[in-house]
Every structure is written in structure tokens, then in C-alpha cells.
């Protein structure tokens, strides 16, 4: 599923880099308060952050919160409807408590996207800095490779990788991460180019500042805002991709169960126990929406302060 929704052009110079970050100069600390003040002004983003933290807590404390052992099968009591016999969300096709499985499922569904974005960062960030700073043929090679990788939809890339390496969450998420790398690469490269063009870089470089110090003190703070925005949007897409792979049965493999797997199992028995698919489906949407709104909130509060006359 091709993904990020910023208007980065597709390829070539003509792209409308709508989100090329404007250089922010104000000193660190006050910028943080400034960011917090503006972020608090974004209702949707704040609500999403709260929900996300709640889900993270649920994932961590799932064993305590889950009323039943998620793997306890009870074939006689299978397909019990919600709110009966002490099963808040009923039981699945093997008689396991759907609510407990939903709580445990949150663990993979919350971790998987971070693996994907982590891989994306590990690949995209250094490459972006290197290409941005070094320029020349390095930039051309890296940029063209990133354009080529972006030509392949995320799910196709994941499937090709799984075909070779075999199914499983980690393989799936590594592949999805590889699909994210180009998007991260473009942001980092864009920011690095902008910063490199700034005069004060020339000044500090001439005064003997080492490249790493340059990157650390000047480049990094400036690529952080767009990077965080992009990362949160990509987290949303990773959740959907994981659900897609689980639907196809090649993502998370049992006995592990993610919300995607629960949604798939819900489908298999849709007409007999339709309530099974709603909770995981809704949770996937809510989590994806959280990441989207957090992304929007971050973009508005971190982004360039447009001065209106």
C-alpha cells in the first residue's frame, strides 16, 4: 500500500516538496515549550496521544488486565456472544476469550509498526545525511535507488521479502521498513540540503567544525520536526500493512496473535459470529487514526511558523 501522504513529488526535480522544512533558529529549550504550547492547541492530536499511551499501557499490563488466559480453549463454549458467561466480547472459534486475546494482540500490533519505522530510520537516516552532505554522484545514486524502491508498493515489497525469507512478523516488518526507508531518506536529504545551503554552515565549517559536529548541532535539530511527523504517519501505515499481511496469512504467525490475525479469524466466521471482527477492526482503525492525527498535530505545531502580515 503506497503510503505517506505528504506531497513529496514522485521523482525528478519537478516534485513539489511541499514539506521541505523551513530552518528554525530559535534556541532548544524555549522551542520545546513553544512546541508544547502549540501542540496542546491541537485537540485531535492530544486526544490521540492519550489514546495511544492508554493502548501502550494496556499492551504492557495485558497479563494483569486480561480476565482469562488468551490461549485457554474451550470448544464447548465456542462462539459465545458478547456479554454472556462473563465474556465481555464473547469467545472465538476455539472458545478462547476474545477480550483477552484483544488485549494480548495489542502487544504485537503496537510493537510491529515501531520495528518497521525503526528499520526505515536505520536505512533512511544515514543515507539521507550522507547523500545530503556529500552530494555529487553519491546523492544521485541514493536518490535514484530511493525512487526505484518507492516504485514498489509496500505490500508487494513485503510479500517478495517474505517469499524469500519465509513468513513471520519480524520478516514482514523488516520488509515494510525497507519500504519506508525511501520516504525517510527524502526528508532527511531535503533537510540536510537546506541546512547545508545556510550561510552559518559555511561559517562554522570554515572555522574547522567537524562534519559530525555540524550534523549533530545544526542538521539534526532541523530534520527532527519533519522526521517525527513522517515517522508517525508511517506508523499508521505499518499498522495497516501488518493487518493486510495477517489477512493474507503470511504476517504474524500463530500462536502469536495480532489484531490483524484476530480480524482475519473474525472474517473466517463472519456470518456465524459477526461480532468477532468488529473489535479488532475498530482498534486497528483507532490506532491508525491516532498515528495520523498525532502526525497532523506534530506537523502543525513543529512546522514552520508562517508569519501573516
Amino acid at each position: 500500500m503506497s503510503d505517506a501522504n505528504n506531497a513529496t513529488g514522485v521523482s525528478g526535480e519537478a516534485q513539489a516538496e511541499a514539506d521541505t522544512p523551513e530552518v528554525v533558529h530559535s534556541p532548544g529549550s524555549s522551542r520545546l515549550q513553544h512546541f508544547v504550547r502549540r501542540y496542546r492547541g491541537e485537540p485531535l492530536a492530544v486526544a490521540s496521544t492519550v489514546i495511544f499511551l492508554l493502548l501502550a499501557l494496556i499492551a504492557v499490563f495485558a497479563p494483569l488486565l486480561a480476565p482469562y488466559d488468551p490461549n485457554d480453549t474451550d470448544l464447548i463454549a465456542k462462539f459465545t456472544p458478547p456479554l454472556t458467561d462473563g465474556h465481555l466480547l464473547g469467545t472465538d472459534d476455539l472458545g478462547r476469550d476474545a477480550f483477552s486475546r484483544l488485549l494480548y494482540g495489542s502487544r504485537i500490533t503496537l510493537v510491529a509498526p515501531f520495528i518497521a519505522v525503526g528499520v526505515g530510520l536505520v536505512l533512511g537516516l544515514p543515507a539521507g545525511l550522507f547523500a545530503g552532505f556529500r552530494g555529487g554522484w553519491v546523492d544521485v545514486v541514493f536518490s535514484r535507488t530511493s525512487d526505484a524502491v518507492m516504485a514498489l508498493p509496500g505490500l508487494i515489497l513485503a510479500i517478495a521479502f517474505i517469499a524469500a525469507r519465509g513468513p513471520g512478523t519480524t520478516n514482514a516488518m523488516i520488509a515494510v521498513g525497507m519500504g519506508f526507508a525511501p520516504r525517510i531518506f527524502r526528508i532527511v536529504r531535503g533537510a540536510t540540503l537546506t541546512v547545508r545551503g545556510e550561510t552559518y554552515i559555511e561559517a562554522s565549517r570554515s572555522s574547522g567544525a567537524s562534519t559530525t559536529r555540524l550534523i549533530g548541532s545544526h542538521v539534526f535539530p532541523n530534520i527532527l520536526p519533519p522526521l517525527i511527523v513522517q515517522a508517525s504517519v508511517l506508523l499508521g501505515f505499518a499498522v495497516l500493512t501488518e493487518a493486510g499481511l495477517s489477512f493474507l496469512g503470511i504476517g504474524v504467525q500463530p500462536p502469536q496473535a495480532s489484531w490483524g490475525v484476530l480480524l482475519r479469524r473474525g472474517f473466517d466466521h463472519l456470518q456465524r459470529a459477526s461480532w468477532l471482527s468488529w473489535p479488532p477492526g475498530l482498534m486497528i482503525m483507532i490506532l491508525t487514526l491516532c498515528f495520523q492525527f498525532i502526525g497532523d498535530g506534530l506537523r502543525d505545531s513543529l512546522g514552520r511558523e508562517t508569519r501573516r502580515e
Binding site: 490461549n71 470448544l75 476455539l94 496469512g249 503470511i250 500462536p255 473466517d268 456470518q271 456465524r272
Partner: protein, 578 residues
């Protein structure tokens, strides 16, 4: 990467050496590893038997090459009646007011990989091939072998030869006549062409002689029984020699069957239309037949409910819904069963008490009833109740190996495992098998045995459990031929491919050999009943959890249907309502 045919079959074979226990299925999102009937490994002439594994219900059929031991010499073996299951019917006689110009639309889970019976690597191709190719011998629904292209056959040279009379006046779909020479050409191609996947199946066929225009003689090196059954399947399909070398034989078959391929849309559907000059017009009850590919279970159910298709395989949990939507159910026993197998060389499975303990820790009845809604018959005998080898006095055996966790714990203590032990089972990545694994995991934990589940895709199961022999245990399903000897030679005998630990007992081997060599069914039945008892004493490395039941749902107007004991999905003579 130029692939020569040889490589294709080699790759297919090695990557997918599917002995008994591997599985393939086709349910949506499941592994769809496709077996090949050829195997390079020259283990005692065994061949990779396409397995009829199932996702919680009946999967595509089996009988790629039912190579059971030598079928009884007489031409008309006793008729093992197929027990009714209490759900739907096992056969639907032809209605008298069917629509002669109608189209029968059927949805299946896997596309056809090739219309060349000799080279198609998928064990499911025969369902697509049945309408186009007649076979020398016809395997009737009740498992008997009846004439088809071979009108009659006689055993000669005391069991090392078969003379067959070829039906006269039969014409191929390209107009060329069928004669003994064409039959010889086919059998020679099937057993000599390097890319043929039927080589091992026809290993015991030494030569084919044309006695006269419509008589051939098959010279064998042994195994007469299995040969006749083999000629009832892909090995017996006769292709028009003129089409042997045509490049599009894989997509445009030329056989003698009742229907011709009018259109083959890759991965979507095949549309067959009546072959006007067919020799048995009585079975051509529809103008056209359309086989469509629908991988996902839910999609097939949707198509049935939106009456876009006449018939399709349904899973156990869909039977109720299909009936609720006005569909009728065709259901019947099959020789296929779910099984939990161990490598008896890897401790602690070398200890009979441990194996017996696990038998008592397994609640077969709950699994059959709870997981499969009764559409799976819990039993411990390896042959279906319809088979003559089934000892009805012994019955399901659930009393012998009853669900008794306390006894299991006792046995474990005796065997030196007071607080149980831990092992890992490999399971194909198909929802049905994972459900069984998860239930067994729960049941074994009651007796202190921790079973870890490792999910791999289909081909990997046989690769690790049977070839590499690295896995301690595996869960899958096994579908032998209707003849009981098939189970022995390929699963239970020491050198069987499906027996990585070579677990057996002299008594079992002796009884199995004796039964294989006998001819009269009643006599063989006696020996198999003794063999069942011998197996109980042995506590074999692989025992059934329950015997699968095939369930298909069809629109009320459809008739002329049968459940084939061989597991084949042959819609010969199907009719649709107006």
C-alpha cells in the same frame, strides 16, 4: 533463468517432497504448497502422495495416484458402502427434469497448473482434467474399478501382465481415432519422458505391447493391484498423440472426455463445452461446465449465497450458514485423517509409555465435536469405516485409548517424567491445523506436557519432519488410497517415507505383508483386524485424531452428484435444474 522441465519437476519434488504428513490446502491465506507426484528420492519406490490435508474440513481430493497394494484380482471388488454422516447426503441421483442446455458452475480453491496429465506438478490438477480426459479404468464412487476406455482386462503371465481391450469407435477431440497404438504412445510418454511426474507411479510398468488394433498388453514387474488403480487416475488419462508436442498442451488439452476446453482464463476460470462425438452421451447432461478459482473460503460462500455458482467446497463452520441460505449439502467420509506424528527415534518418543500417555491426554471426541462440529469422525483405526479393513467390532477405539489425563500422568511418571516434558511440533500455516495444534497444546498442558507450536508453510513440514528429520513431531493430515495397504507402505511400515523414526514391530510387518499378498477381501479383512490390534500394542508414531468428512454446498437444482471413496472430485454426469 531458463527452466528446463527437468528442473521444474526436480525443484517441485525437493522443495515439496510431500510425504504422508505434509499438508497443503487452499483455504484463503493458507499455504498452498502443491505436491508433485514425482520424487527424486528413490526411497523404496514411494512417491510423494499429494496429501488431502484439510483446513478443518474437507480439502481438495486426493487420489493423485492411489497406489495401494495390489488390488484384488477380480475385476469387481466388494462395494464398501459409504456411511452417512448425519449431515446432507453422500449422493444425489439425477433429477429427471434437468436443463440440458444449462451450465454447471463450480468453484475450487486452486487453479489448474497444467492440462498435461503427465507433467502437471500440482496434485490438484486432476479435478480440472477429469471433464476433458477419459481414463483407461473408471474408479466408481464406491471405490470399485469399472471399464472406461478399457472395456475389459484380463490378468496374464500369473499376475505379471494385463491384457486390455480398448473401446472401439472412440474419437479424440481433435478428430483422430483412439486405438491401442495411442494408448501405448501415452503410457510410454508417461513413463519415459524425463519431465513426467508419473515416473515413480508407473515404475512397475516394464513395457506396453500392441497385440492388435484395439488390444494392448501391459508387462509388469509386480504390483498388479495398484497398477489398475493407477490407470484410473492421471496415469490412465489418454492424450491425443497428435497433441503430444504442441506447445499449448498445458493450456489447450486434447482428450477423449465428454467436454472440451472452450476457454482457459489463467487463474480465473476454465469453460468447458460438450464434445459432440463423445462415446457416452448419456453423461453429458449440461451444455457447458465452468470451473472457477476462488481461494478464499468466505468468497466461495458469498458466491454461493449470491447464487453466482452452483456448487463449491465449504468448511465445517460454513455448513450451517450454507444450509441457512437455502443450499443443500453433499457430505461423505473420506480416507483422509488428521494426525499427530512423532519421530520415534527422538526421545522421549521412543518410549511406548510416553506415546500411550499422549494418546490418553488427547480428547479426540471433543476435537471432532467441538472444533469440527461433528464433521470429523474421532477414531484411532487408520482406515475409514467404509473400508473392508475397518474392524467394526473394535469400533472407534475411544474406549481403548480413552481421554484419561490421570492415566496419562501415571504413565508419564512410570516412564520417568513425573513433571512432564517439553517438545516442539511443526504445523503448516493453515488455520485448520493451527486450531488443532492450539487445542492439543492446551490439552497436553493439563498433563504437564508443554507442546510448543512452530508454524511453517506446507512444504517445510515434510522437509523438516521427513527429510531432514530435525523436527520432533508434526501435525498434518494424511490421505492414503482407498486400499488399506497404502497406509502401511507409506506411513506405518519401518521403511515408509512417513515414518522418520522407522518405528514398527515384527508382528505389524508380518501381518501387513500377509494382508498385501492375499487376494480375497474377506481374508484380507481378517488379517487387517489382527493388524489393528498389533498396532494398538505398538502405539504407532502416527495415529489419527479424526477422519475427515468432505462437505460441499450446492444450489437446490443440481443433481447427479456423488462423493467418491477415492476422494476424487469427479462431476461426471452432473446436471443442473432449469
Amino acid at each position: 533463468m531458463r527452466h528446463s522441465r527437468k528442473i521444474v519437476s526436480a525443484l517441485a519434488a525437493s522443495a515439496l517432497v510431500l510425504a504422508a504428513c505434509s499438508s497443503d490446502d487452499d483455504s484463503g491465506g493458507s499455504t498452498d504448497s502443491v505436491e508433485s507426484a514425482s520424487s527424486d528420492t528413490d526411497a523404496a519406490g514411494t512417491e510423494a502422495q499429494p496429501d488431502d490435508s484439510v483446513v478443518a474440513t474437507d480439502a481438495p481430493d486426493t487420489s493423485d495416484a492411489p497406489d495401494g497394494s495390489d488390488a484384488p484380482v477380480e475385476t469387481d471388488p466388494p462395494v464398501p458402502e459409504v456411511q452417512s454422516i448425519g449431515v446432507g447426503r453422500s449422493s444425489v441421483p439425477v433429477a429427471d427434469d434437468y436443463d440440458e442446455s444449462g451450465t454447471f458452475t463450480w468453484a475450487y480453491t486452486v487453479p489448474v497448473t497444467s492440462f498435461d496429465p503427465h507433467r502437471g506438478v500440482s496434485g490438484f490438477d486432476q479435478n480440472w482434467l477429469f471433464p476433458v480426459y477419459d481414463r483407461l479404468v473408471y474408479s466408481s464412487p464406491d471405490g470399485g474399478l469399472e471399464p472406461m476406455l478399457a472395456t475389459d482386462w484380463r490378468i496374464v503371465d500369473d499376475g505379471l501382465g494385463v491384457e486390455m481391450d480398448i473401446r472401439e469407435g472412440v474419437v479424440f477431440q481433435d478428430g483422430t481415432p483412439l486405438d491401442a497404438a495411442a494408448v501405448k504412445a501415452n503410457l510410454d510418454r508417461a513413463r519415459s519422458d524425463e519431465q513426467s511426474v508419473l515416473l515413480p507411479v508407473l515404475a512397475s510398468l516394464a513395457d506396453v505391447e500392441v497385440l492388435d488394433e484395439f488390444t494392448v498388453k501391459l508387462v509388469l514387474t509386480g504390483g498388479l493391484g495398484p497398477m489398475l488403480a493407477t490407470l484410473a487416475d492421471r496415469a490412465g488419462m489418454i492424450i491425443s498423440p497428435a497433441a503430444f508436442d504442441s506447445p499449448d498442451l498445458a493450456t489447450q488439452p486434447v482428450g477423449t472426455g465428454p467436454y472440451m476446453v472452450e476457454e482457459n482464463r489463467l487463474g480465473d476460470r476454465v469453460i468447458y463445452t460438450q464434445f459432440p462425438d463423445y462415446w457416452d452421451p448419456e453423461v453429458q447432461r449440461t451444455e457447458k461446465i465452468e470451473f472457477r478459482v476462488m481461494r478464499d473460503d468466505q468468497t466461495r460462500l458469498n458466491a454461493l449465497q449470491a447464487n453466482e455458482i452452483d456448487m463449491a467446497l465449504v468448511r465445517q463452520n460454513q455448513v450451517g450458514i450454507a444450509e441457512g441460505a437455502g443450499m443443500e449439502i453433499l457430505a461423505g467420509n473420506t480416507p483422509t485423517f488428521y494426525n499427530l506424528s512423532f519421530n520415534a527415534e527422538i526421545p522421549p518418543f521412543d518410549d511406548a509409555d510416553v506415546r500411550l500417555a499422549l494418546q490418553h491426554a488427547m480428547d479426540r471426541a471433543l476435537i471432532a465435536e467441538g472444533l469440527f462440529d461433528g464433521l470429523c469422525t474421532a477414531q484411532i483405526q487408520h482406515w475409514p469405516s467404509g473400508s473392508f479393513a475397518y474392524d467394526s467390532a473394535f469400533g472407534s477405539g475411544l474406549d481403548v485409548w480413552d481421554y484419561n489425563p490421570d492415566k496419562a500422568v501415571e504413565l508419564l511418571e512410570e516412564a520417568g517424567f513425573p513433571d512432564g516434558f517439553e517438545f516442539t511440533v511443526i504445523v503448516p500455516s493453515i488455520t485448520g491445523f493451527q486450531s488443532i495444534a492450539e487445542v492439543l497444546q492446551d490439552q497436553f498442558s493439563e498433563v504437564g506436557v508443554t507442546m510448543n507450536i512452530r508454524v511453517v508453510e506446507g512444504a517445510q513440514v515434510s522437509e523438516e519432519f521427513l527429510v531432514a528429520k530435525s523436527a520432533e513431531a508434526s501435525i498434518g493430515s494424511y490421505s492414503p488410497s482407498p486400499d488399506p495397504d497404502g497406509v502401511m507402505t507409506r506411513l506405518l511400515l519401518p521403511d515408509a517415507l512417513g515414518n522418520p523414526g522407522h518405528l514398527s514391530s515384527d508382528e505389524v510387518v508380518a501381518l501387513a505383508t500377509e494382508a498385501a499378498n492375499l487376494v480375497d477381501t474377506d481374508e484380507r479383512a481378517e488379517v487387517y483386524h489382527e493388524l489393528t490390534q498389533a498396532l494398538i500394542d505398538l502405539v504407532p508414531h502416527s495415529t489419527p485424531v479424526c477422519m475427515q468428512v468432505r462437505t460441499e454446498a450446492f444450489q437446490p437444482g443440481v443433481s447427479g452428484l456423488d462423493i467418491y471413496a477415492s476422494g476424487a472430485r469427479d462431476y461426471r454426469g452432473v446436471a443442473v435444474g432449469s
